[in-house]
């Protein structure tokens, strides 16, 4: 089986994000970058399938030079080769524009399975993977926690609301967008990084792919969320207050 994994590089989770003077994007200087977490789970699922069934895992990522570090991380963790779509205007593209880049490269590879995260941690549109499926004319499923290879194709576990799951069977080739948390991520190793140096990393440009297009959706402005603090005092005895707190944590904060 040949698996393509589409990965995005996003600002590191606890990086101090500041809005750029243009007001339609963040200040990228001094930021540290990391692999988009749902994409890391997509890669992990691909690597597990590779370990079980001996697949080839190809990583595809679009973005400027700096994306190379995330691609090397993916190779270090076990991907076989990578394609870097070099473009400096990634954040100027809408989801369709990015999906066109990815689809153009993936089409050349003709994989049996395309995996990507269900959304990115920076803009979080959640559309790119689905549009790629549409552009490739492949069936797709979203919010997938686990993928199983069957004789007919794939059986996948899909997350629904409120702790419900759905099991779906679909033929290959297919596109799946992965939810975080289905597996345990592996850590990058020194041996992986050293071995990654000898792996193939091909670079293509948007122009070479013929996938340039004017965006149909334009990001006009971004703003920091307004800080909100609301304190509630829970009346009654410690026991009653604790019960009320648990109820609120469950129903209002939804952290339990």
């Amino acid at each position: 089986m040949k698996i393509a994994v589409a990965i995005k590089q996003v600002p590191e989770r606890d990086a101090p994000v500041r809005i750029a003077p243009s007001a339609n994007w963040i200040e990228e200087r001094e930021l540290q970058w990391a692999m988009n977490e749902p994409d890391a789970y997509a890669l992990e699922e691909a690597l597990l399938l590779k370990e079980q069934a001996g697949s080839e895992v190809i990583v595809v990522s679009a973005g400027p030079e700096r994306v190379g570090s995330t691609i090397r991380e993916a190779l270090a963790k076990g991907a076989d080769r990578a394609i870097h779509i070099l473009c400096d205007d990634l954040n100027g593209r809408d989801a369709l524009g990015v999906a066109r880049l990815l689809a153009a490269v993936i089409k050349q590879e003709n994989p049996d399975l395309v995996l990507t995260g269900l959304q990115s941690e920076d803009v979080g549109l959640g559309q790119t993977g689905v549009i790629v499926a549409e552009l490739l004319g492949l069936p797709h499923a979203t919010m997938i926690l686990r993928v199983e290879k069957t004789d007919a194709g794939l059986r996948v576990k899909r997350e629904l609301e409120e702790g419900w799951f759905q099991s779906i069977e679909l033929p290959t080739p297919a596109v799946l967008t992965m939810q975080s948390g289905g597996n345990k991520l592996r850590y990058a190793t020194l041996m992986g990084i050293k071995r990654a140096k000898t792996k193939e990393l091909r670079t293509v440009t948007a122009a070479e792919l013929g996938a340039d297009s004017a965006p149909t959706v334009v990001l006009e402005q971004i703003a920091a969320p307004k800080k909100q603090k609301s304190t509630q005092m829970l009346p009654g005895s410690a026991k009653e207050a604790a019960a009320a707190l648990v109820e609120k944590l469950k129903t209002e904060a939804r952290v339990l």
């Binding site: 977490e37 850590y187 190793t189 020194l190």
Partner: protein
């Protein structure tokens, strides 16, 4: 006076048959010795060369050799009574070198020490004194091994009994020769008894742990120096200790030098709380591996002879290495085995992976958002370091994110402000890499060390002060692999320097100070924190203190893993500290602090009693400050 004493009796003439017999026996003895020692010797030589090994400067080596081998200082210091007994045996052996050479030479008529001559007489008497002391000492050691039987020595070893007997016989046959006439049959019989004992002793050496007799002087002389120093990885194929091919000459030499005395187990936190890890067995495991597979094998080191579980139970407290009398460096070996497992991805541990991912994707080992650190800095109005202040106050993960660690930082800041010391904190800090360094993740450690070194160089930091002995050690020693770190000191050193300027506390308490491993054994700082603690009360000592301090259980990255087996290390130590009756437990490491806090909460909540107060020395120093 000397005239009145009897002379050593030596047979005057030997027959050709006797000389021939001696030559044949000696040849057989040497052959039996070499048949065993030869392969060991070649295994050591054929092991990988130690990268970066340099014989010079040789001064340190000579000093270590004289102090640890000739003077037996470490052997005696750590176990005085047994140590002196051992030293007497060792010194007798040294004195006997010339006696034995002369003894063997006499059979060919080549004896060079005349029992009646002036030098010969004096020398033989001196040797006799050593022989008498040695006979008593070896008898005492025999009683210890077979009657007292401390658990460190493991199962009863009959070969040790045999060796003791042979040594005793060697001494007795020598001493007895003073009391028989020179040309008598008795003198001849004693000569032969002494000779046969000697020739039986020689081949036993490489077959038993008495191999240390030959190897350990070299092990100590050739040691890399420093304490618990982790060697650099060299080249693209070095991932730590993965297979036999990764064992270096010094490691092989060390494994064969082990004398199995078990001192390494004495204060080992893992071994004392029912874990699988036994530092002695780690070393003997490598010896077993070398014996079976040899230094060119591709068989994994963590399989038949050593287990991954044991390797990852080490807190890197260094109690083993600190005590080892034959120069074995346990910590680099154990960390080396971990490196081999982590750098190749063989180690799979949920909590370990969680720590690694937290540091791959974020800045701190606790997995918190860096914004939390910014909030703490803002709330306490900590100035940012801009290159003009004297100290860069390194917060560390515990100081920046842990509520208790923050209290320590705040207390230190109060004292620094009182003293008028100028300081600032980094705008952004990453974990120094201590836990991943000790867990063997070299990739992550390099990334963290390089990012921090670059940030510190940009801010032109000259001097760092930190509340965490782990940060201090990692910055000062481990970062060296990737650059030149700034000068760094632990807050106990700073506070002790200014202790006379700090107002002492009125209501004095009884304080027991717990020596953190990374401050004591690793840095040699023992008195400074006590001097600071003494500002707030009378310092008493725990049963295990100073260099024999018992670990809190947090080091080596273990605070981030689950402690699954046996008793909890922190609980054992916390109870020991509480049992001193002190009202305050003084600490100097945020990790010790957090470990004991949990232990006290567990132990004393169950009993319904009040636990001793847990205070960092910075908090004790701040107690006397005006509000």
């Amino acid at each position: 006076m000397i005239i009145l004493l009897p002379n050593l009796a030596e047979p005057q003439h030997f027959s050709t048959f006797e000389s021939g017999l001696f030559a044949a026996l000696a040849a057989a003895s040497i052959w039996a010795f070499w048949r065993r020692f030869g392969p060991i010797f070649s295994k050591i030589l054929q092991s990988k060369k130690d990268p970066g090994f340099q014989l010079f400067p040789i001064g340190r080596r000579v000093r270590d050799f004289v102090w640890e081998v000739m003077c037996q200082a470490k052997v005696i210091r750590e176990r005085p009574l047994v140590g002196v007994a051992h030293a007497l045996v060792f010194w007798a052996f040294c004195a006997f070198a010339l006696v034995t050479l002369n003894h063997c030479a006499t059979i060919f008529g080549l004896g060079f020490l005349d029992p009646a001559g002036r030098f010969g007489r004096v020398f033989f008497y001196v040797a006799a004194l050593f022989a008498a002391a040695c006979a008593v000492a070896i008898f005492g050691l025999f009683l210890r091994r077979f009657v007292a039987r401390p658990k460190w020595l493991g199962a009863v070893s009959w070969e040790s009994g045999l060796i003791a007997l042979l040594i005793f016989a060697l001494m007795v046959t020598y001493l007895a020769a003073f009391f028989v006439p020179g040309a008598s049959t008795a003198a001849r019989l004693l000569w032969w008894a002494h000779t046969i004992t000697l020739l039986a002793f020689l081949p036993l050496i490489p077959h038993t742990k008495h191999l240390h007799l030959i190897l350990s002087p070299f092990t100590i002389f050739l040691s890399r120096g420093g304490f618990a120093e982790i060697p650099p990885l060299v080249g693209d194929e070095d991932f730590g200790l993965v297979t036999g091919k990764d064992l270096t000459q010094l490691i092989s030499l060390q494994t064969y030098s082990c004398v199995e005395c078990g001192r390494c187990m004495e204060d080992c936190p893992a071994n004392n709380t029912g874990k699988l890890l036994n530092p002695k067995e780690i070393v003997l495991g490598l010896r077993g591996y070398l014996n079976e597979y040899g230094p060119h094998s591709e068989e994994p080191l963590l399989s038949k002879y050593n287990s991954q579980e044991a390797a990852f139970e080490c807190t890197t407290c260094g109690a083993c290495e600190f005590q080892c009398p034959v120069g074995i460096e346990h910590v680099p070996i154990i960390v080396g085995l971990r490196r081999g497992a982590v750098n190749t991805g063989a180690w799979q541990d949920d909590q370990g992976a969680k720590l690694f991912l937290a540091l791959e994707r974020g800045s701190n080992a606790l997995g918190m958002s860096a914004a939390e650190r910014d909030k703490f800095i803002e709330k306490n109005a900590l100035p940012l370091f801009d290159g003009t202040q004297e100290y860069c106050l390194w917060l560390g993960c515990m100081g920046a994110y842990d509520p208790r660690g923050r209290e320590i930082v705040v207390a230190l800041v109060r004292v620094m402000r009182f003293l008028g010391a100028s300081f600032g904190v980094m705008r952004k800090e990453r974990c120094t890499g201590d836990p991943v360094r000790r867990l063997g993740n070299d990739l992550l450690f390099q990334q963290l060390a390089e990012a921090n070194l670059e940030a510190l160089a940009q801010s032109e930091t000259k001097k760092i002060i930190s509340i965490c002995p782990h940060c201090v050690r990692t910055i000062q020693e481990d970062w060296k692999a990737y650059g030149t770190p700034p000068e760094v000191e632990h807050h106990s050193e700073f506070l002790a320097r200014y202790a006379s300027q700090l107002p002492p506390v009125r209501d004095r308490e009884k304080i027991v100070f717990h020596d953190p491993c990374y401050l004591g054994r690793y840095r040699g700082v023992y008195e400074e924190p006590r001097k600071v603690a003494a500002l707030a009360g009378d310092v008493v000592e725990a049963p295990r203190s100073h260099e024999r301090s018992f670990c809190c259980g947090a080091g080596g990255g273990l605070v981030f893993l689950g402690e699954e087996k046996g008793e909890r290390v922190s609980h054992v130590r916390a109870e020991e500290l509480a049992a001193t009756g002190a009202s305050v437990v003084g600490t100097a490491c945020p990790f010790c602090n957090t470990m004991f806090r949990d232990a006290f909460a567990d132990a004393f909540a169950a009993k319904g009693e009040g636990a001793p107060e847990l205070m960092d020395i910075a908090q004790l120093a701040a107690r006397g400050l005006p509000e």
